[in-house]
Structures are given as C-alpha cells and as structure tokens.
Amino acid sequence: MFNFFDELKGNLKKIDQNLLNGYNLINLSGKILYVEGHFGLTILTESLIAFKVKKGRIEVSGKGLLLSELSQNTMKIEGEIAKVEQF
C-alpha cells in the first residue's frame, strides 16, 4: 500500500528524520484530513474530533465531521474542516 509519508522520508534524506517521526497531517482542501502517528482519540463529535499525538494534542473542528477510518496509527477525518489546532 502506498504511504505518502514513507515516500516523503525516502525523498527528503537531507531533512532530519526525527521531524517525520512525530505525527503527520495532510489536509486535502479542508474536506479530508489524513493523520499518521496519533495516540488515541480523546473527543469524538460531529463538530470536534480530538486526538493525542507525541508531545501534545490536536483538535480538529468543523461541521459534519466523520471519522471515516481509524487504525492503531492512522485516521482519516472527512467533513467541513474549519480548523486544525495543536495544543
């Protein structure tokens, strides 16, 4: 299976690899948010989805948020994503 971040790590060898070992997010047009490296959900509602990451917490707020995929390490959120904040 294609993994965007693995490709990125392979191509950007000069970048400190530790930077990519934390959490990684990709926001596609504010409609889909792909997350890699989460440590578990903390809040799950239609307007707010929050999850733990390494050294912090991320909150995704918006409308009609749907957790369309959740695995041990990754998740995919779909909906009207208004804001992604790190705490």
Binding site: S68, E69, L70, S71, Q72
Partner: protein, 380 residues
C-alpha cells in the same frame, strides 16, 4: 478496479466511546464512525467482525446490532442454511444419479422400417437403463439379426439418449410383395405398346375402356411359373374427346314479361282467416306459391301463403343452320379442347351432324394420342 466492501457494521451505546475506539483500533481498522440519537455506528472489515463483537462484549459495551455484509458472509450464511445445503446436495446427487441412466431411445434412418418397432425391440433387449449395463455392440448385432431390412446399425449413448442409427438394405422391388396392374385411364384405341416388364393384356388395335387391365403385374417363365414384378410399360392409344349440342331451326320459347300479380292469405288449421286476392288478368302466366308459419314458436300455427302470378309470352325463334353452323362448331371445339390434357397432340378433328325434322344433333370429336397407362383422367 471496483473493490467490493465486505464489512461488519455495529451499533453500540457507550459512555466512553473514544476509549473503546482506541482499544479496538489497536487491533482492527475502524471505518465510517457515525453518531446519531445517542448511538454510535461503525464498521470494521468483515473478517474482523466476530472478534470485534467479542471484544465489545468483553468490554461490557451493549451491541444493539451487528450486521455482517459482503459476498463472503452471504455465502457462509447460505451454507449455514442446512435445508438449502441439503437440497443442493440431494439435487446434485440426483442429477449425477439420473445422468447414469438412459431415458430416451431415438431411432434414425428408418424409411421402410417402423421406428416404434425398433424402439420396442431395443427396450426389450436392454437389461436395464443403467449406462454401464448397456452393451452397444451387442445391441447392434441383435438389431441386424432381427431385422432383415437392416444392413448395418450403430448404437451410441449420447447424454441420456440411446441413438440407434439404421442403414436399410436396398432390396429388389420384386421382394416388396403386392403389385398393381396397369389399367387404362381412358377409353381409346391402342396404337403403340412399349413393354418394359409385366405381361400384356392388350395388343395394338384393341379398343379399351377406362379401367381395363393393360399390363398384368407378373411374368411367366419358361416353366410356366408366375413371378410378380412391378409392371412397366407405355401404352399409347387414340383417345377421343367429344362435345355435343342440339340445334333447333324452329323453336318456341316461353318467357316471363316481368309483370306479376301477388295474392296472399292467412290460414289457421285450414280455415282462411285473412285473404288479399287480386284478380289474375294475365292470359298466359306461370304461378308460384310459398307458405310459411307466421309465429316461430307454433303456439298458433298461422300459415301465411303467398301466390305470385308471372305474365308470360310465347316467342317463335326461327334460325338457319347453314348460317350458324360455323359458330356452333367453333363453340363445340372450344368446349372439347377444355377436356384435353395439357400439351396433348391433336391427331384429328371431325364433326358429325344428324338432322331430324329441323333438329340438328351436332358432335365435335378431337382425336389425340395419350399414354393411357398413366397421366390424367378426364371426362366429357
């Protein structure tokens, strides 16, 4: 590529759903988490469905519904339906079993032989309908031995049919049995005989009538013995086609003028209860009478009788035979030609006139040559 989703969908209620999802996601991938009316619905891969359900039960999470979707699940569900499985197995077993038997016997190539006769014989010859017990070679020999007209036979099992292919022997016609004599189809004078086989009953110059035997269906050998044969011969004869007419030089014809008088009456048991009588003033007339019941149910047998008087007049017709004879004979000729067979060759034509007190009896005779042993019959 279209990927068919085979997933299990759960509907649960839990106060600490995030914690539950975090635990589930440690081992399984969760899809499409939806919350409504206090319930949480989510999906997992179908093959993880049972484990997730067990996990939820272990966690004391109340599962309100667990729906397993996908072809694989449907197939396994179908297998769990023992009735269907049993039916399938029994059906397949019956199919395999019946495939081992022959249910139909087809006989091909019969022209003179009866198909049903051979079919009956084959049925009787078969020990059983089980394919394994059918010896096709033995059947072929049996058919050849029991049917003289069979020169060769091949027997094959195709599907659930036993195909018997027959080649019939071509026997001389003489062995077929009864033959019919050649009989004359017309009255005529025999003019030419070309005999191929058979025994002649007529000779050149004989006058024959329709139905007379021309050639007998046998030959007589040197020892005087009769041998049946199919009679074959061409018997040509002069056949006469005749048309006739009568011509009157003086004739009185009575014909209706078109004027008529009608009278009617109604009777009941013979008593006249109504009458409409008009006086008949015609000097010469013909009358017609018609009667019918007025009521169809015959409750009252009222009979309506109608009399019609037609005025007639008498006309004298005087004609001259000599002036009209050409037309008369031409009409008679055309009348005679109608009865000639197609492409018949006219050998001779002649007219006969017999006069008796102003009445002429006319005949037109066409002589043609025909093979009277065959062809088309006709009458004048």
């Amino acid at each position: 590529m279209i990927k068919k989703k085979s997933r299990s969908r759960f509907k649960i209620k839990s106060l600490n759903r995030e914690k539950i999802f975090n635990k589930i996601s440690q081992k399984f991938v969760i899809y499409d988490v939806i919350e409504h009316d206090g319930f949480i619905e989510f999906e997992v891969d179908e093959h993880d469905g049972e484990q997730v359900e067990n996990f939820l039960n272990q966690q004391n999470v109340k599962v309100y519904s667990a729906v397993h979707k996908g072809l694989r699940r449907k197939f396994f569900n179908l297998l769990k339906m023992w009735g269907v499985v049993a039916g399938l197995i029994v059906g397949m077993a019956l199919y395999c079993l019946q495939y081992s038997f022959v249910f139909k016997i087809e006989v091909w190539g019969c022209n003179q032989l009866s198909e049903s006769e051979i079919t009956t014989f084959v049925k009787k010859s078969l020990a059983s309908n089980f394919k394994g017990n059918i010896d096709t070679q033995k059947l072929e020999i049996l058919i050849r031995e029991n049917f003289e007209l069979v020169s060769s036979a091949s027997v094959a099992i195709v599907g659930q049919s036993l195909i018997v292919n027959i080649n019939e022997a071509i026997l001389p016609e003489e062995l077929y049995g009864e033959f019919e004599p050649i009989v004359s189809r017309y009255d005529g004078l025999v003019t030419e005989i070309n005999l191929v086989q058979g025994t002649l009953n007529v000779k050149q110059g004989d006058i024959v009538q329709k139905g007379d035997v021309l050639v007998y269906p046998y030959i007589i050998d040197g020892d005087g013995e009769q041998h049946p044969v199919q009679p074959k011969a061409e018997i040509f004869a002069d056949v006469w086609v005749e048309s006739e007419d009568v011509f009157h030089e003086y004739k009185i014809v009575e014909e209706r003028t078109g004027r008529k008088i009608e009278c009617s009456q109604v009777t009941l048991f013979g008593l006249v209860i109504f009458s409409n009588t008009n006086e008949n003033t015609f000097k010469s007339f013909e009358s017609e009478k018609t009667s019918s019941y007025i009521a169809e149910n015959n409750v009252l047998p009222l009979i309506y009788t109608k009399y019609t008087f037609f005025e007639t007049k008498t006309t004298e017709i005087i004609r001259n035979f000599e002036q009209e004879k050409d037309n008369l004979f031409e009409n008679l000729r055309q009348k005679a030609l109608i009865y000639l067979p197609e492409n018949a060759i006219i050998k001779d034509e002649k007219t006969l006139v017999k006069e008796m007190a102003g009445v002429y009896y006319l005949s037109y005779i066409i002589t043609t040559s025909l093979d009277i042993g065959e062809g088309y019959g006709y009458t004048v």
